[in-house]
Symmetry: C2
Amino acid sequence: VPVLARRAAIVGCGLIGGSVGLALRERGWHVTGADAAPDRAARALELGAIDAVGSDPGAEITFIATPVRQVAEAAHAALAAGPGLVTDVGSVKAAVVTEVHDPRFVGGHPMAGSEQEGVDGSRGDLFEGAVWVLTPGPTTDDEAYATVHAVVSSLGADVVSLDPEQHDRTVAVVSHVPHLTAATLMRLADERAEEHGTFLRLAAGGFRDMTRIAGGSPAIWPDICGDNRDAILDVLDVLIADLRQMRTVVEADDRDGLLDRLHQAQKARVSLPVRGGPAQPMVEVRIPVPDRPGAIAGIMTLAAELGVNVSDLEVAHSSEGGGVLILVVEAEAAPALRDALAEDEIRSSSTPLP
Amino acid sequence: VPVLARRAAIVGCGLIGGSVGLALRERGWHVTGADAAPDRAARALELGAIDAVGSDPGAEITFIATPVRQVAEAAHAALAAGPGLVTDVGSVKAAVVTEVHDPRFVGGHPMAGSEQEGVDGSRGDLFEGAVWVLTPGPTTDDEAYATVHAVVSSLGADVVSLDPEQHDRTVAVVSHVPHLTAATLMRLADERAEEHGTFLRLAAGGFRDMTRIAGGSPAIWPDICGDNRDAILDVLDVLIADLRQMRTVVEADDRDGLLDRLHQAQKARVSLPVRGGPAQPMVEVRIPVPDRPGAIAGIMTLAAELGVNVSDLEVAHSSEGGGVLILVVEAEAAPALRDALAEDEIRSSSTPLP
């Protein structure tokens, strides 16, 4: 290990913690890992996901990759142990961000997983092309945010900054309720299958796709459903109401109503953003930022609200205090961002990148 | 074209019709194809899915691959045009089997599809390892059934014989309601996405898997929902009730209730039969059959009810009338089949295959 290697720590050596470790080590970091289960930490060491088992008070950044309900406590411990930054990878964010208000803490959630669970499923390329949400809170320091953004981006992830509440409402729709629905469909089919031996042999590709996530470990779901209960209940209510409408359409043999609904779904599905699409022309947008907490996080959250993907971020300090935030975004998206900034009386400039 | 090639006809040159044509031609058949849209038939010819455009009254077997609502009329026309057998590939079976009661007609439904629709998506290997349901009716001739079974098996499909009503109830659970649910989830997410530009960027693999089928063409669904309405409404009611239960579990923070449901779903998903699993030891079961219509179809339907997969079938005639049905099934499954036959006072014998 080179003496000058950047140092990171991982708390929780599961699939995500192990993958963060592998990805960081591939990029030259020195990674120390801990886990409540000593054999998991030992296995992470064996797999090369960490350099050493234990804690590292000198780590520049600590990734909390424990189950959701243990994140706040682990984050507080890491913040108390040393001067470094702390981020986490939990699937629900508002509760944690409310509990951990420290300038050096940045909430996060990589939207990546694997069929294979546990540290043995870890992959150094797990985050390449994946969206990694950051949810800076009102007390998050801009430098801390910019550093976490840079480290996470360096692992190949597309960083999206969101309000913690907006994150939680969104994942209720695109992750939590779909999971509960997949499990419900699978149980329903399983119960029907008891009536007839051939039943599940008729389950072709579409059914397999729809129920794939129901094959995952249930262990993480009670915490997720507890922490994101309100958003999940809200989305379940809408889903149930929409299915009742679909039932009415089918019952009435309302062909046009059915076609309208299916066409809308088809159009939306076909235009779902694809990971790693063709490279777009990029521009650098330079934005003067006042030297006050949350200024950069506020701009990043605005970019996310506008659907502007920030593929790189840098903060250049000026001698008069404050500084310049330099964002790399798709050329097509830059005008919308600059217009929105102008409405807040922030004058930005933009330069095409080669 | 060799003079002695077996001759087949295809009515409806879409994805399934074209794939049947390609698969038969690869096996030496001469295939004639027709389509209500002349350019589709021309395209099938161009792609090598058929040898000639038009009808073939001398075809040994005609595959009706039109939209569901046109199957009965096309089947009647094909039965009237020549002495050959007729089968279809429609997604709903009870309505068609009721309308077409002819000894030479055998209803069918290959459980295979492709992301690419239309004749351009056709593949000669589309049915390899796929389940192909046959739904012989009370008037179906045993020889006709056995021939269709043999032809369809020769394309690489696993044939499962079912009552038309059992088929329709099953596909409501494993295909029709999942499709409507995927579309409903996709619409819900799409409507939420209008509130926030980044929304759908957070849709990771699980959501993409769950909504994939919603990207398919809506055109076939009004007919399917119309023809299989009762079964679909029944399953939608159960799904809605189950989702309401799931809502109650989440609202009450009932961790054990949630874990129970997710564990049941996980177990069922993990044990979903996989296409083309490892080869099992097989046996030949010889079953004497009386010379009356529907005897063989009845035995095949019994096998399916027991979950016994018949991978090959042959009928040997005896000089005294009647004959012997020879089924190739997994050794493990043979005793259950033979026991059930014995209950109907049918004495079978079984020989291990090498």
